[in-house]
């Protein structure tokens, strides 16, 4: 590793740095990075080189990168914070130093409010340049005003279902992938009748030859209608239309024509812009559930590379317009830190300009015993995702659904599940069957 000092001439660096007050927050997106550097390097110099690389410049000054162009288009480093923050000496055994670095990118460069150019800019080549992880993004109002966000959000979905306060319960049909669709429709009837509010396809079941979306949505809606009449409640069915982007839009129209009442996509595989196309299309008049646990692990799992989970699982799908965001809960089969699962819920529900608050849906090996903890952590404005924890109930899927409703009722009344189980038989069986879903 050779240090080419030509890069770091003073003139070259006079633009890409500012005090934290030295930029107009209405004109810049602020990106926060984790960076780890060999102890010999000056993080300020590296950060400025990166800011230049991700806006106007390259590894060497070029003649047309004029001061005027830099003034208009260059990114600026506005903070370099070391953790721990060495001051007057560096211990000899320190080989790498860790930093939080903030860079402000002009929204002028971002070609309007859109994910592709945003990602190429704030999560571009820079993330291949060493130990760098994008931790956060702060957007100015006028940038986010380019996104409409969710059509329904928490209030809208609650109003469709007629459920005011309590957590909603969602069931993913298991087996994940199956054929023909009748198998799922039969299960959908059972769990809807048992009390689930929302039924979703597994993220792995899309428009499969032996189980087409068109056939599935008709059969599921029939099953749900029948169940709704019996239970006197409503049920949404989020049919998985994950496919090539152009096909997603076709499938969405077709689902609505056929009477479907909700949609689902695997958000990262189809792309946030495709989710957004659905959400911002006025003719798509049904809520959208975005499944986030797939592929995103490739991006957030490493502590030193990629993007933080609260961006890719939280802020991005909210901006793109999801009404419900499925993501890993730390209590079941998934591996996820509790603080990050809470952070994601905040990304979805904290005030963010005009964007509606949307439902966090923690999921993955959830069983009734987890319900009080989920509500304690996140409050009642959640959708609880349960798959096997409903379908594998010893008394069948309907009882499995009912057990969750009983757990929710007890939790909302402040009664312990053990106490409630004296009265509620299905819950009692569930509690006796499962103490945990931890796998490893």
């Amino acid at each position: 590793m050779v240090l080419n000092m030509g890069r770091f001439e003073y003139e070259y660096l006079d633009v890409p740095e500012a005090l934290p007050e030295g930029f107009d927050p209405e004109e810049y997106v602020v990106a926060t990075y984790y960076v780890s550097l060999p102890a010999g390097l000056d993080a300020h110099v590296v950060a400025q080189a990166v800011a230049v690389e991700q806006s106007t410049g390259t590894w060497t000054p070029v003649p047309k990168e004029t001061p005027e162009i830099k003034r208009k288009h260059a990114a600026r480093v506005i903070g370099v914070y070391e953790a721990p923050a060495y001051q007057w000496f560096l211990p000899k055994d320190v080989e790498e130093r860790q930093y939080i670095i903030q860079v402000a990118f002009p929204i002028l460069n971002l070609c309007g409010s859109q994910f592709p150019v945003l990602l190429a800019t704030v999560a571009g080549n820079i993330l291949a340049g060493g130990k760098v992880k994008l931790l956060d993004l702060a957007f100015p109002r006028k940038y986010l005003e380019g996104f409409k966000g969710a059509k329904f959000g928490i209030e809208g979905v609650r109003s469709i279902l007629g459920v005011k306060d309590r957590p909603l319960i969602n069931n993913m049909i298991k087996p994940c992938v199956y054929s023909p669709p009748d198998i799922g429709a039969e299960l959908a009837y059972e769990v809807a009748a048992g009390g689930v509010d929302i039924i979703k396809d597994d993220e792995l079941l899309a428009d499969m030859e032996l189980n087409k979306v068109e056939e599935r949505v008709v059969k599921f809606m029939e099953a749900i209608d029948k169940a709704n009449e019996e239970k006197g409640e409503k049920t949404l069915y989020t049919v998985n239309i994950t496919d090539r982007p152009s096909r997603v839009l076709e499938l969405a129209d077709r689902v609505i024509e056929l009477g479907g009442n909700a949609l689902m996509v695997d958000a990262v595989p189809v792309g946030f812009e495709t989710l957004r196309d659905l959400a911002e299309d006025p003719s798509i008049n049904v809520p959208i559930l975005a499944h986030l646990p797939d592929f995103t692990g490739a991006v957030y799992m490493s502590p030193e590379y990629g993007l933080s989970s609260h961006l890719i699982i939280g802020k991005f799908p909210r901006i793109a317009g999801a009404d419900i965001v499925v993501y890993p809960a730390p209590y079941g089969k998934a591996m996820f830190l509790r603080e990050n699962y809470i952070k994601i819920a905040k990304q979805l529900r904290y005030p963010l300009y005009h964007l509606k608050k949307v439902f966090p849906m923690p999921s993955g090996g959830i069983i009734p015993i987890h319900v009080p903890q989920l509500v304690f952590d996140l409050g009642p404005d959640i959708v609880i995702g349960a798959g096997g924890g409903i379908h594998a109930h010893p008394q069948g899927p309907r009882a499995g659904a009912t057990a969750f409703r009983q757990a929710i009722d007890a939790t909302m009344k402040g009664i312990s599940l053990e106490e409630a189980a004296k009265e509620y038989k299905e819950l009692d069986v569930a509690l006796k069957t499962w103490k945990t879903t931890k796998i490893v």
Copy 2:
């Protein structure tokens, strides 16, 4: 971490495992993973649980996951290989064990030949389940036959340019982001006249308010036409149409109407399916350059998480239809292992059923001195990407382009650059100016 042994009953596992010969290679995609596990766990059991999780099942058996459904839709573990491969005892200090695990996924589950369902399946929740990295995918012929691949490929691009054997030289305009477009058009004229074969926008400059694609393409094509007449050669201009997917297609049509002769997208930010929409659309009758260094670092940089670079930078863009794939070279400003840069070139050029061979374009801080090494590594069927190494030439961008052509000529003739520089003045200046572009 609690082990729920209920998961691992024998009946549950009778389907999701097979010998390496125990599946029909025409009906399955084979995924190869790196996995690191705590020493106490049985990798075979975990692998099978994962295969089930990514196809029919969940953390617990469910009633409708019948043997018939498992036979049709379950994934199968076909290989669990430990590295190092402990046999008769496990040293006491081994806390984690590393494996290469191969899983065969039925193409029946993949809903035709498409990236979204493929990614949700082979790179789905599984990549959030611990230390797991997707290293490779092997596709059956009939699955890849659903993709058309590149329209032009190496042969097609060579035929447009009328350049038979030598490496092509591509220049990315620097500054990266600038306005108005005249600045770039002026530079384009210089470097085209100086001898570059292809000019590309920086990945950060898309359809920006102060530098719109429509204006840019007209001005660049004028500049190129003028240069072509002077030099008696052809030049392609790959204009960056990265944008929301629907807008990418509109911009592509508009560029072609306006006489543009090539296109460029940031492949991962727009999505592989959008790149594919361009490549498979018969009306898009120009080559497509795909920029891969942006965002992909978030996915491939960690040795224990994500996807390998040769998939996300190599096989995927080839399948999606890129004619030229820009990716990091290990000799300039980028940080990249040489073996992976070579591996990516193989992904782009080795036989792969009907799919055309396409150009690797190693890039990032490339200067003339790197040319013989690039050709030694990858042969002459490459595009050499140079930005600052052309624009910062002390005699100006035109001389910078000429210096690269001289380096290519010398290399093709088997003459050392030092020898050639005695005759070639621009090359001589370049060699004296830069010995390296390594930054850190």
